[in-house]
Symmetry: D2
Subunit: 155 residues, 4 copies
Protein backbone atom coordinates (compact mmCIF):
# COMPACT_ATOMS: atom_id res chain seq x y z
CA UNK A 1 0.00 0.00 0.00
CA UNK A 2 1.52 3.22 -1.20
CA UNK A 3 0.36 5.45 1.60
CA UNK A 4 1.64 3.11 4.21
CA UNK A 5 5.03 2.49 2.60
CA UNK A 6 5.52 6.22 2.22
CA UNK A 7 4.81 6.72 5.86
CA UNK A 8 7.26 3.99 6.81
CA UNK A 9 9.84 5.56 4.54
CA UNK A 10 9.51 8.83 6.37
CA UNK A 11 10.02 7.19 9.69
CA UNK A 12 13.10 5.32 8.57
CA UNK A 13 12.43 2.36 6.30
CA UNK A 14 15.61 0.37 6.82
CA UNK A 15 15.36 0.11 10.54
CA UNK A 16 11.85 -1.24 10.37
CA UNK A 17 12.39 -3.92 7.75
CA UNK A 18 15.87 -5.19 7.53
CA UNK A 19 16.89 -7.92 9.94
CA UNK A 20 20.26 -7.90 11.60
CA UNK A 21 23.06 -9.13 9.45
CA UNK A 22 26.10 -11.14 10.50
CA UNK A 23 29.46 -11.14 8.80
CA UNK A 24 32.58 -12.92 9.94
CA UNK A 25 36.22 -11.86 9.73
CA UNK A 26 39.44 -13.17 11.12
CA UNK A 27 41.78 -10.91 13.10
CA UNK A 28 44.86 -10.25 10.97
CA UNK A 29 48.39 -10.16 12.30
CA UNK A 30 48.58 -6.65 10.88
CA UNK A 31 45.68 -5.68 13.12
CA UNK A 32 47.34 -6.65 16.38
CA UNK A 33 49.55 -4.34 18.38
CA UNK A 34 52.26 -4.98 20.94
CA UNK A 35 49.65 -5.40 23.67
CA UNK A 36 48.94 -8.69 21.89
CA UNK A 37 45.38 -7.70 21.01
CA UNK A 38 43.64 -6.06 18.07
CA UNK A 39 44.43 -2.34 17.90
CA UNK A 40 41.40 -0.25 18.77
CA UNK A 41 41.06 1.67 15.49
CA UNK A 42 40.58 -1.59 13.59
CA UNK A 43 37.16 -2.06 15.15
CA UNK A 44 36.00 0.83 12.99
CA UNK A 45 37.33 -1.00 9.93
CA UNK A 46 35.35 -4.05 11.02
CA UNK A 47 32.23 -1.91 11.39
CA UNK A 48 32.82 -0.82 7.78
CA UNK A 49 32.90 -4.49 6.73
CA UNK A 50 29.72 -5.08 8.73
CA UNK A 51 27.75 -2.29 7.07
CA UNK A 52 29.00 -3.09 3.56
CA UNK A 53 27.86 -6.69 3.95
CA UNK A 54 24.63 -5.50 5.53
CA UNK A 55 24.00 -3.38 2.44
CA UNK A 56 24.95 -6.24 0.10
CA UNK A 57 22.48 -8.52 1.88
CA UNK A 58 19.84 -5.84 1.38
CA UNK A 59 20.56 -5.75 -2.35
CA UNK A 60 22.76 -2.67 -2.37
CA UNK A 61 26.33 -3.07 -3.52
CA UNK A 62 27.93 -0.05 -1.92
CA UNK A 63 30.44 0.19 -4.75
CA UNK A 64 27.60 0.72 -7.23
CA UNK A 65 26.19 3.50 -5.13
CA UNK A 66 29.48 5.36 -5.45
CA UNK A 67 30.23 4.45 -9.05
CA UNK A 68 26.81 4.67 -10.65
CA UNK A 69 25.11 7.29 -8.56
CA UNK A 70 27.98 9.34 -7.21
CA UNK A 71 26.58 8.91 -3.73
CA UNK A 72 28.94 8.43 -0.83
CA UNK A 73 28.10 7.35 2.68
CA UNK A 74 30.14 9.81 4.75
CA UNK A 75 30.62 9.15 8.45
CA UNK A 76 29.66 11.93 10.81
CA UNK A 77 29.97 10.09 14.08
CA UNK A 78 31.46 6.82 15.30
CA UNK A 79 31.77 5.25 18.69
CA UNK A 80 32.93 1.96 20.11
CA UNK A 81 32.78 0.34 23.52
CA UNK A 82 35.56 -2.21 23.99
CA UNK A 83 34.39 -5.00 26.27
CA UNK A 84 36.92 -7.79 25.89
CA UNK A 85 40.02 -7.97 23.68
CA UNK A 86 40.08 -9.70 20.30
CA UNK A 87 43.27 -11.62 19.58
CA UNK A 88 45.16 -12.65 16.49
CA UNK A 89 43.39 -15.28 14.39
CA UNK A 90 40.15 -14.97 16.39
CA UNK A 91 37.07 -15.21 14.24
CA UNK A 92 34.96 -12.14 14.91
CA UNK A 93 31.26 -12.05 14.09
CA UNK A 94 30.04 -8.54 13.38
CA UNK A 95 26.29 -8.16 13.75
CA UNK A 96 25.05 -5.05 11.99
CA UNK A 97 21.68 -3.40 11.95
CA UNK A 98 20.24 -0.06 10.92
CA UNK A 99 19.05 1.77 13.97
CA UNK A 100 17.50 4.55 12.01
CA UNK A 101 17.42 5.70 8.42
CA UNK A 102 16.05 8.48 6.28
CA UNK A 103 16.87 9.39 2.71
CA UNK A 104 19.58 11.70 4.09
CA UNK A 105 21.09 9.76 6.98
CA UNK A 106 21.62 6.25 8.30
CA UNK A 107 22.67 5.13 11.75
CA UNK A 108 24.12 1.64 12.06
CA UNK A 109 24.53 -0.34 15.25
CA UNK A 110 27.09 -3.10 15.69
CA UNK A 111 27.84 -5.89 18.07
CA UNK A 112 30.99 -7.96 17.81
CA UNK A 113 31.66 -11.30 19.41
CA UNK A 114 34.09 -14.17 19.09
CA UNK A 115 32.78 -17.04 16.96
CA UNK A 116 32.02 -20.22 18.84
CA UNK A 117 31.64 -18.48 22.17
CA UNK A 118 29.30 -16.03 23.79
CA UNK A 119 32.11 -13.61 24.41
CA UNK A 120 31.02 -10.15 23.31
CA UNK A 121 34.03 -8.02 22.48
CA UNK A 122 32.53 -4.69 21.49
CA UNK A 123 29.49 -2.68 20.59
CA UNK A 124 29.49 0.34 18.34
CA UNK A 125 27.51 2.85 16.37
CA UNK A 126 28.17 4.93 13.26
CA UNK A 127 26.07 7.76 11.90
CA UNK A 128 26.29 8.69 8.23
CA UNK A 129 25.01 11.22 5.77
CA UNK A 130 24.66 10.62 2.05
CA UNK A 131 26.94 12.95 0.08
CA UNK A 132 27.96 13.75 -3.44
CA UNK A 133 31.61 13.50 -4.53
CA UNK A 134 31.90 17.15 -3.43
CA UNK A 135 31.16 15.95 0.13
CA UNK A 136 27.95 17.99 0.18
CA UNK A 137 24.80 16.28 1.56
CA UNK A 138 22.57 14.55 -0.98
CA UNK A 139 19.46 12.41 -0.82
CA UNK A 140 19.78 8.69 -1.38
CA UNK A 141 18.25 8.06 -4.84
CA UNK A 142 14.69 6.79 -4.52
CA UNK A 143 15.48 3.52 -6.31
CA UNK A 144 17.78 2.45 -3.50
CA UNK A 145 14.94 2.77 -1.08
CA UNK A 146 13.11 0.31 -3.31
CA UNK A 147 16.12 -1.95 -3.47
CA UNK A 148 16.38 -2.08 0.28
CA UNK A 149 12.74 -2.92 0.65
CA UNK A 150 12.87 -5.52 -2.15
CA UNK A 151 15.90 -7.15 -0.64
CA UNK A 152 14.19 -7.42 2.67
CA UNK A 153 10.84 -8.65 1.49
CA UNK A 154 12.41 -11.12 -0.86
CA UNK A 155 14.27 -13.04 1.80
Amino acid sequence: MVTNSRRISNLGYISRHMPKHETTLRVRYAETDQMGVAYYANYLVWMELGRVEYCRAAGLRYRDLEENDQVLLAVVEASCRYISPARYDDEVIVTTWAEHSTRRTVTFGYEMRIAGSDRKIATGETRHVFCGPDMKPRKLPEKYGELFRAGINGR
Copy 2:
Protein backbone atom coordinates in the same frame (compact mmCIF):
# COMPACT_ATOMS: atom_id res chain seq x y z
CA MET B 1 50.22 21.90 50.53
CA VAL B 2 50.18 18.17 51.08
CA THR B 3 46.60 17.78 52.21
CA ASN B 4 45.31 19.72 49.29
CA SER B 5 47.38 17.99 46.63
CA ARG B 6 46.26 14.63 48.01
CA ARG B 7 42.67 15.70 47.76
CA ILE B 8 43.17 16.89 44.21
CA SER B 9 44.82 13.59 43.36
CA ASN B 10 41.76 11.72 44.55
CA LEU B 11 39.53 13.84 42.41
CA GLY B 12 41.63 13.40 39.32
CA TYR B 13 44.97 15.11 39.30
CA ILE B 14 45.73 15.24 35.62
CA SER B 15 42.63 17.04 34.55
CA ARG B 16 43.16 19.79 37.08
CA HIS B 17 46.80 20.54 36.35
CA MET B 18 47.92 19.63 32.91
CA PRO B 19 47.29 22.17 30.21
CA LYS B 20 46.09 21.15 26.76
CA HIS B 21 48.78 19.78 24.54
CA GLU B 22 49.10 20.22 20.77
CA THR B 23 50.80 17.84 18.40
CA THR B 24 50.94 18.07 14.63
CA LEU B 25 50.85 15.35 12.01
CA ARG B 26 50.54 15.28 8.28
CA VAL B 27 47.88 13.18 6.56
CA ARG B 28 49.61 10.29 4.84
CA TYR B 29 48.66 8.97 1.43
CA ALA B 30 48.15 5.61 3.12
CA GLU B 31 45.52 7.23 5.31
CA THR B 32 43.33 8.47 2.47
CA ASP B 33 40.59 6.41 0.90
CA GLN B 34 38.91 6.55 -2.47
CA MET B 35 36.57 9.29 -1.25
CA GLY B 36 39.71 11.45 -1.44
CA VAL B 37 39.72 12.12 2.31
CA ALA B 38 41.30 10.58 5.39
CA TYR B 39 39.63 7.26 6.27
CA TYR B 40 37.60 7.54 9.45
CA ALA B 41 39.42 4.93 11.54
CA ASN B 42 42.67 6.88 11.22
CA TYR B 43 41.31 9.60 13.48
CA LEU B 44 41.63 7.11 16.32
CA VAL B 45 45.28 6.60 15.39
CA TRP B 46 45.73 10.37 15.51
CA MET B 47 44.13 10.44 18.96
CA GLU B 48 46.71 7.87 20.01
CA LEU B 49 49.47 10.20 18.78
CA GLY B 50 47.83 13.06 20.66
CA ARG B 51 47.72 11.25 24.00
CA VAL B 52 51.22 9.81 23.67
CA GLU B 53 52.63 13.28 23.09
CA TYR B 54 50.43 14.65 25.86
CA CYS B 55 51.99 12.12 28.22
CA ARG B 56 55.50 12.87 26.98
CA ALA B 57 54.93 16.57 27.64
CA ALA B 58 53.84 15.66 31.15
CA GLY B 59 57.05 13.72 31.70
CA LEU B 60 55.66 10.25 31.07
CA ARG B 61 57.11 8.26 28.20
CA TYR B 62 54.32 5.81 27.55
CA ARG B 63 56.83 3.21 26.35
CA ASP B 64 58.49 3.24 29.78
CA LEU B 65 55.17 2.68 31.47
CA GLU B 66 54.75 -0.53 29.48
CA GLU B 67 58.37 -1.68 29.57
CA ASN B 68 59.37 -0.78 33.10
CA ASP B 69 56.12 -1.08 34.98
CA GLN B 70 54.14 -3.54 32.90
CA VAL B 71 51.27 -1.10 32.87
CA LEU B 72 49.17 -0.75 29.74
CA LEU B 73 46.64 1.94 28.94
CA ALA B 74 43.76 -0.13 27.55
CA VAL B 75 40.94 1.63 25.71
CA VAL B 76 37.43 0.95 26.93
CA GLU B 77 35.58 3.52 24.91
CA ALA B 78 36.28 5.76 21.94
CA SER B 79 34.18 8.18 19.99
CA CYS B 80 34.71 10.68 17.22
CA ARG B 81 32.58 13.38 15.61
CA TYR B 82 33.66 14.09 12.05
CA ILE B 83 33.03 17.73 11.22
CA SER B 84 34.93 18.44 8.04
CA PRO B 85 37.17 16.14 5.98
CA ALA B 86 40.96 16.04 6.27
CA ARG B 87 42.77 15.60 2.99
CA TYR B 88 46.09 14.20 1.89
CA ASP B 89 49.09 16.25 3.01
CA ASP B 90 46.99 18.44 5.29
CA GLU B 91 48.73 19.32 8.52
CA VAL B 92 46.45 18.32 11.36
CA ILE B 93 46.85 19.77 14.84
CA VAL B 94 45.59 17.41 17.53
CA THR B 95 44.81 19.17 20.80
CA THR B 96 44.66 16.70 23.68
CA TRP B 97 43.62 17.13 27.26
CA ALA B 98 42.72 14.89 30.17
CA GLU B 99 39.09 15.32 30.98
CA HIS B 100 39.28 13.19 34.06
CA SER B 101 41.79 10.90 35.69
CA THR B 102 42.12 8.59 38.66
CA ARG B 103 44.78 6.01 39.40
CA ARG B 104 42.62 3.46 37.60
CA THR B 105 41.23 5.36 34.62
CA VAL B 106 41.90 8.31 32.34
CA THR B 107 39.59 10.04 29.91
CA PHE B 108 41.16 12.10 27.16
CA GLY B 109 39.45 14.69 25.04
CA TYR B 110 40.64 15.69 21.56
CA GLU B 111 40.05 18.39 19.06
CA MET B 112 41.56 18.30 15.58
CA ARG B 113 41.91 21.15 13.17
CA ILE B 114 43.81 22.00 10.01
CA ALA B 115 47.00 23.97 10.63
CA GLY B 116 46.94 27.55 9.42
CA SER B 117 43.16 27.76 9.40
CA ASP B 118 40.36 27.72 11.89
CA ARG B 119 38.79 24.71 10.28
CA LYS B 120 37.92 22.17 12.95
CA ILE B 121 37.78 18.69 11.50
CA ALA B 122 36.85 16.50 14.44
CA THR B 123 36.39 16.14 18.15
CA GLY B 124 36.80 12.93 20.09
CA GLU B 125 37.10 11.20 23.39
CA THR B 126 38.76 8.04 24.63
CA ARG B 127 38.36 6.39 27.99
CA HIS B 128 41.05 4.08 29.33
CA VAL B 129 41.80 1.78 32.23
CA PHE B 130 45.29 0.91 33.42
CA CYS B 131 45.95 -2.81 33.01
CA GLY B 132 48.66 -5.37 33.55
CA PRO B 133 49.99 -7.45 30.64
CA ASP B 134 47.23 -9.94 31.54
CA MET B 135 44.73 -7.21 30.58
CA LYS B 136 43.39 -7.13 34.14
CA PRO B 137 42.85 -3.70 35.75
CA ARG B 138 45.75 -2.28 37.75
CA LYS B 139 46.47 0.97 39.51
CA LEU B 140 48.86 3.42 37.93
CA PRO B 141 52.05 3.24 40.06
CA GLU B 142 52.16 6.11 42.55
CA LYS B 143 55.42 7.49 41.11
CA TYR B 144 53.71 8.30 37.82
CA GLY B 145 51.28 10.49 39.66
CA GLU B 146 54.35 12.36 40.92
CA LEU B 147 55.83 12.47 37.45
CA PHE B 148 52.71 14.02 36.02
CA ARG B 149 52.65 16.67 38.70
CA ALA B 150 56.38 17.34 38.36
CA GLY B 151 56.03 17.66 34.62
CA ILE B 152 53.31 20.18 35.02
CA ASN B 153 54.85 22.26 37.76
CA GLY B 154 58.19 22.28 36.01
CA ARG B 155 56.89 23.92 32.89
Copy 3:
Protein backbone atom coordinates in the same frame (compact mmCIF):
# COMPACT_ATOMS: atom_id res chain seq x y z
CA MET C 1 61.96 -44.43 3.51
CA VAL C 2 63.84 -42.71 6.26
CA THR C 3 67.01 -41.89 4.39
CA ASN C 4 65.12 -40.35 1.55
CA SER C 5 62.73 -38.28 3.67
CA ARG C 6 65.65 -36.96 5.65
CA ARG C 7 67.37 -35.94 2.46
CA ILE C 8 64.24 -34.20 1.25
CA SER C 9 63.94 -32.42 4.57
CA ASN C 10 67.44 -31.07 4.23
CA LEU C 11 66.74 -29.78 0.78
CA GLY C 12 63.56 -28.05 1.83
CA TYR C 13 60.61 -30.24 2.57
CA ILE C 14 57.76 -27.80 2.18
CA SER C 15 58.55 -26.70 -1.31
CA ARG C 16 58.65 -30.26 -2.56
CA HIS C 17 55.38 -31.44 -1.08
CA MET C 18 52.88 -28.76 -0.44
CA PRO C 19 50.65 -27.73 -3.30
CA LYS C 20 49.80 -24.13 -3.93
CA HIS C 21 47.10 -22.75 -1.72
CA GLU C 22 44.43 -20.20 -2.62
CA THR C 23 42.72 -17.82 -0.26
CA THR C 24 40.25 -15.11 -1.13
CA LEU C 25 39.77 -11.67 0.36
CA ARG C 26 37.74 -8.64 -0.53
CA VAL C 27 39.38 -5.22 -0.90
CA ARG C 28 38.25 -3.08 2.02
CA TYR C 29 37.36 0.58 1.75
CA ALA C 30 40.03 1.19 4.38
CA GLU C 31 42.58 -0.31 1.98
CA THR C 32 41.90 2.08 -0.87
CA ASP C 33 43.65 5.40 -1.28
CA GLN C 34 42.71 8.57 -3.09
CA MET C 35 44.01 7.12 -6.36
CA GLY C 36 40.90 4.95 -6.15
CA VAL C 37 42.89 1.74 -5.91
CA ALA C 38 44.25 -0.44 -3.11
CA TYR C 39 47.23 1.22 -1.41
CA TYR C 40 50.45 -0.61 -2.18
CA ALA C 41 51.46 -1.57 1.36
CA ASN C 42 48.26 -3.58 1.75
CA TYR C 43 49.52 -6.18 -0.70
CA LEU C 44 51.98 -7.23 2.00
CA VAL C 45 49.07 -7.64 4.41
CA TRP C 46 47.38 -9.83 1.82
CA MET C 47 50.55 -11.90 1.49
CA GLU C 48 50.38 -12.39 5.26
CA LEU C 49 46.82 -13.71 4.88
CA GLY C 50 48.01 -15.97 2.08
CA ARG C 51 50.80 -17.57 4.08
CA VAL C 52 48.72 -17.94 7.25
CA GLU C 53 46.04 -19.81 5.30
CA TYR C 54 48.73 -21.78 3.49
CA CYS C 55 50.07 -22.90 6.88
CA ARG C 56 46.57 -23.68 8.16
CA ALA C 57 45.94 -25.86 5.11
CA ALA C 58 49.20 -27.66 5.86
CA GLY C 59 48.04 -28.34 9.41
CA LEU C 60 49.97 -25.55 11.11
CA ARG C 61 47.96 -22.90 12.91
CA TYR C 62 50.45 -20.06 12.99
CA ARG C 63 48.99 -18.80 16.25
CA ASP C 64 49.90 -22.11 17.94
CA LEU C 65 53.44 -21.82 16.71
CA GLU C 66 53.77 -18.50 18.53
CA GLU C 67 51.75 -19.40 21.61
CA ASN C 68 52.84 -22.96 22.25
CA ASP C 69 56.36 -23.00 20.88
CA GLN C 70 57.42 -19.39 21.16
CA VAL C 71 58.47 -19.48 17.54
CA LEU C 72 57.88 -16.44 15.35
CA LEU C 73 58.13 -16.21 11.61
CA ALA C 74 60.09 -12.98 11.17
CA VAL C 75 60.25 -11.38 7.73
CA VAL C 76 63.70 -10.61 6.39
CA GLU C 77 62.78 -9.66 2.85
CA ALA C 78 59.62 -8.78 0.96
CA SER C 79 58.97 -7.70 -2.57
CA CYS C 80 55.97 -7.06 -4.76
CA ARG C 81 55.43 -6.38 -8.44
CA TYR C 82 52.24 -4.43 -9.08
CA ILE C 83 50.78 -5.41 -12.43
CA SER C 84 47.25 -4.06 -12.47
CA PRO C 85 45.35 -2.16 -9.77
CA ALA C 86 42.91 -3.79 -7.34
CA ARG C 87 39.83 -1.75 -6.59
CA TYR C 88 37.41 -1.46 -3.72
CA ASP C 89 35.20 -4.52 -3.24
CA ASP C 90 37.20 -6.60 -5.74
CA GLU C 91 37.61 -10.19 -4.67
CA VAL C 92 41.31 -10.98 -4.72
CA ILE C 93 42.57 -14.55 -4.88
CA VAL C 94 45.98 -14.93 -3.28
CA THR C 95 47.83 -18.04 -4.42
CA THR C 96 50.62 -18.93 -2.02
CA TRP C 97 53.36 -21.52 -2.24
CA ALA C 98 56.60 -22.25 -0.46
CA GLU C 99 59.46 -21.70 -2.84
CA HIS C 100 62.02 -23.03 -0.46
CA SER C 101 62.16 -24.08 3.16
CA THR C 102 64.62 -25.33 5.74
CA ARG C 103 64.19 -25.62 9.48
CA ARG C 104 65.59 -22.10 9.77
CA THR C 105 64.02 -20.23 6.85
CA VAL C 106 61.04 -20.25 4.53
CA THR C 107 60.51 -18.36 1.31
CA PHE C 108 56.95 -17.91 0.12
CA GLY C 109 55.85 -16.94 -3.34
CA TYR C 110 52.54 -15.25 -4.11
CA GLU C 111 50.37 -14.47 -7.07
CA MET C 112 47.27 -12.33 -6.80
CA ARG C 113 44.46 -12.07 -9.26
CA ILE C 114 40.89 -10.80 -9.42
CA ALA C 115 38.29 -13.52 -8.87
CA GLY C 116 36.23 -14.37 -11.92
CA SER C 117 38.76 -13.02 -14.36
CA ASP C 118 42.23 -13.85 -15.53
CA ARG C 119 43.51 -10.46 -14.48
CA LYS C 120 46.70 -10.89 -12.52
CA ILE C 121 47.27 -7.94 -10.22
CA ALA C 122 50.55 -8.72 -8.51
CA THR C 123 53.25 -11.21 -7.73
CA GLY C 124 55.38 -11.22 -4.64
CA GLU C 125 57.84 -13.00 -2.45
CA THR C 126 58.66 -12.97 1.26
CA ARG C 127 61.60 -14.57 2.98
CA HIS C 128 61.43 -15.45 6.67
CA VAL C 129 63.54 -16.80 9.47
CA PHE C 130 62.18 -18.62 12.48
CA CYS C 131 62.91 -16.66 15.68
CA GLY C 132 62.33 -16.83 19.38
CA PRO C 133 60.45 -14.05 21.20
CA ASP C 134 63.87 -12.40 21.63
CA MET C 135 63.97 -12.08 17.82
CA LYS C 136 67.03 -14.34 17.68
CA PRO C 137 67.06 -17.12 15.04
CA ARG C 138 65.70 -20.50 16.11
CA LYS C 139 65.01 -23.79 14.40
CA LEU C 140 61.44 -24.74 13.61
CA PRO C 141 60.58 -27.52 16.11
CA GLU C 142 60.89 -30.94 14.46
CA LYS C 143 57.23 -31.78 15.06
CA TYR C 144 56.11 -28.99 12.76
CA GLY C 145 58.11 -30.53 9.97
CA GLU C 146 56.08 -33.67 10.57
CA LEU C 147 52.87 -31.70 10.66
CA PHE C 148 53.59 -30.14 7.32
CA ARG C 149 54.34 -33.48 5.76
CA ALA C 150 51.29 -35.11 7.34
CA GLY C 151 49.08 -32.29 6.19
CA ILE C 152 50.33 -32.65 2.69
CA ASN C 153 50.21 -36.41 2.40
CA GLY C 154 46.82 -36.57 4.05
CA ARG C 155 45.11 -34.45 1.45
Copy 4:
Protein backbone atom coordinates in the same frame (compact mmCIF):
# COMPACT_ATOMS: atom_id res chain seq x y z
CA MET D 1 74.51 24.22 -21.38
CA VAL D 2 71.43 23.02 -23.22
CA THR D 3 72.96 20.03 -24.96
CA ASN D 4 74.43 18.76 -21.78
CA SER D 5 71.36 19.27 -19.62
CA ARG D 6 69.23 17.52 -22.22
CA ARG D 7 71.58 14.58 -22.18
CA ILE D 8 71.47 14.42 -18.41
CA SER D 9 67.70 14.59 -18.54
CA ASN D 10 67.62 11.61 -20.83
CA LEU D 11 69.84 9.62 -18.53
CA GLY D 12 67.80 10.48 -15.47
CA TYR D 13 68.10 14.00 -14.18
CA ILE D 14 66.93 13.52 -10.63
CA SER D 15 69.43 10.88 -9.73
CA ARG D 16 72.32 13.02 -10.86
CA HIS D 17 71.41 16.21 -9.08
CA MET D 18 69.34 15.71 -6.01
CA PRO D 19 71.14 14.88 -2.80
CA LYS D 20 69.80 12.31 -0.41
CA HIS D 21 67.02 13.52 1.79
CA GLU D 22 66.31 12.57 5.40
CA THR D 23 62.96 12.58 7.09
CA THR D 24 62.14 11.41 10.59
CA LEU D 25 59.09 9.63 11.94
CA ARG D 26 58.18 7.98 15.19
CA VAL D 27 56.88 4.41 15.27
CA ARG D 28 53.20 4.52 16.20
CA TYR D 29 51.51 2.08 18.53
CA ALA D 30 49.15 1.31 15.67
CA GLU D 31 52.15 0.21 13.62
CA THR D 32 53.35 -2.44 16.05
CA ASP D 33 52.14 -6.01 16.03
CA GLN D 34 52.04 -8.68 18.68
CA MET D 35 55.67 -9.57 17.99
CA GLY D 36 56.37 -6.26 19.72
CA VAL D 37 57.93 -4.70 16.62
CA ALA D 38 56.73 -2.61 13.70
CA TYR D 39 54.64 -4.67 11.29
CA TYR D 40 56.46 -5.25 8.02
CA ALA D 41 53.97 -3.58 5.66
CA ASN D 42 54.41 -0.26 7.48
CA TYR D 43 57.92 0.09 6.09
CA LEU D 44 56.30 0.72 2.72
CA VAL D 45 54.23 3.50 4.31
CA TRP D 46 57.45 4.98 5.68
CA MET D 47 59.02 4.82 2.22
CA GLU D 48 56.00 6.81 0.99
CA LEU D 49 56.74 9.46 3.63
CA GLY D 50 60.37 9.44 2.57
CA ARG D 51 59.66 10.05 -1.10
CA VAL D 52 56.98 12.67 -0.44
CA GLU D 53 59.41 14.67 1.69
CA TYR D 54 62.15 14.07 -0.85
CA CYS D 55 59.90 15.61 -3.50
CA ARG D 56 58.93 18.51 -1.22
CA ALA D 57 62.62 19.24 -0.61
CA ALA D 58 63.12 19.27 -4.38
CA GLY D 59 60.33 21.81 -4.79
CA LEU D 60 57.59 19.40 -5.81
CA ARG D 61 54.56 19.12 -3.57
CA TYR D 62 53.25 15.73 -4.58
CA ARG D 63 49.69 16.83 -3.84
CA ASP D 64 49.96 19.56 -6.47
CA LEU D 65 51.14 17.05 -9.02
CA GLU D 66 47.93 15.09 -8.53
CA GLU D 67 45.57 18.04 -8.12
CA ASN D 68 46.91 20.46 -10.69
CA ASP D 69 48.34 18.16 -13.32
CA GLN D 70 46.35 14.97 -12.84
CA VAL D 71 49.61 13.06 -12.67
CA LEU D 72 49.89 10.16 -10.25
CA LEU D 73 53.03 8.35 -9.20
CA ALA D 74 51.91 4.71 -9.42
CA VAL D 75 54.08 2.03 -7.86
CA VAL D 76 55.11 -0.85 -10.09
CA GLU D 77 57.58 -2.54 -7.82
CA ALA D 78 58.55 -2.37 -4.15
CA SER D 79 60.99 -4.30 -2.05
CA CYS D 80 62.32 -4.14 1.46
CA ARG D 81 65.11 -5.90 3.34
CA TYR D 82 64.45 -6.02 7.07
CA ILE D 83 67.71 -5.89 8.98
CA SER D 84 66.81 -5.16 12.57
CA PRO D 85 63.39 -4.55 14.14
CA ALA D 86 61.96 -1.09 14.81
CA ARG D 87 60.04 -0.79 18.05
CA TYR D 88 57.26 1.39 19.36
CA ASP D 89 58.24 5.02 19.88
CA ASP D 90 61.57 4.58 18.08
CA GLU D 91 62.52 7.54 15.95
CA VAL D 92 63.21 6.27 12.46
CA ILE D 93 65.25 8.28 9.98
CA VAL D 94 64.31 7.49 6.40
CA THR D 95 67.00 8.46 3.91
CA THR D 96 65.58 8.70 0.40
CA TRP D 97 67.27 9.18 -2.93
CA ALA D 98 66.35 8.83 -6.58
CA GLU D 99 68.33 6.00 -8.07
CA HIS D 100 67.12 6.68 -11.55
CA SER D 101 64.56 8.87 -13.23
CA THR D 102 63.15 9.60 -16.65
CA ARG D 103 60.06 11.56 -17.60
CA ARG D 104 58.11 8.29 -17.43
CA THR D 105 59.57 6.49 -14.42
CA VAL D 106 61.38 7.09 -11.13
CA THR D 107 63.16 4.60 -8.91
CA PHE D 108 63.69 5.59 -5.29
CA GLY D 109 66.12 4.00 -2.87
CA TYR D 110 65.66 4.08 0.90
CA GLU D 111 67.65 3.38 3.99
CA MET D 112 66.11 3.43 7.45
CA ARG D 113 67.90 3.65 10.74
CA ILE D 114 67.12 4.43 14.35
CA ALA D 115 67.85 8.04 15.31
CA GLY D 116 70.75 8.52 17.69
CA SER D 117 72.34 5.20 16.83
CA ASP D 118 74.01 3.61 13.88
CA ARG D 119 71.51 0.81 13.83
CA LYS D 120 70.26 0.30 10.28
CA ILE D 121 66.84 -1.30 10.29
CA ALA D 122 66.00 -1.66 6.62
CA THR D 123 66.80 -0.82 3.04
CA GLY D 124 64.27 -0.64 0.26
CA GLU D 125 63.47 0.35 -3.27
CA THR D 126 60.34 1.43 -5.11
CA ARG D 127 59.88 1.82 -8.84
CA HIS D 128 57.14 4.09 -10.18
CA VAL D 129 55.54 5.18 -13.40
CA PHE D 130 53.78 8.47 -13.93
CA CYS D 131 50.10 7.91 -14.75
CA GLY D 132 46.95 9.82 -15.46
CA PRO D 133 43.85 9.39 -13.29
CA ASP D 134 42.91 6.57 -15.68
CA MET D 135 46.03 4.73 -14.47
CA LYS D 136 47.50 4.86 -17.98
CA PRO D 137 51.18 5.88 -18.31
CA ARG D 138 51.86 9.58 -18.87
CA LYS D 139 54.95 11.73 -19.09
CA LEU D 140 55.83 13.95 -16.16
CA PRO D 141 55.03 17.50 -17.35
CA GLU D 142 58.19 19.28 -18.50
CA LYS D 143 57.85 22.02 -15.88
CA TYR D 144 58.35 19.54 -13.08
CA GLY D 145 61.65 18.58 -14.57
CA GLU D 146 62.52 22.27 -14.31
CA LEU D 147 61.20 22.43 -10.78
CA PHE D 148 63.35 19.54 -9.73
CA ARG D 149 66.42 21.11 -11.23
CA ALA D 150 65.61 24.53 -9.81
CA GLY D 151 65.02 23.05 -6.39
CA ILE D 152 68.36 21.37 -6.51
CA ASN D 153 70.37 24.21 -7.92
CA GLY D 154 68.77 26.66 -5.55
CA ARG D 155 69.91 24.89 -2.42
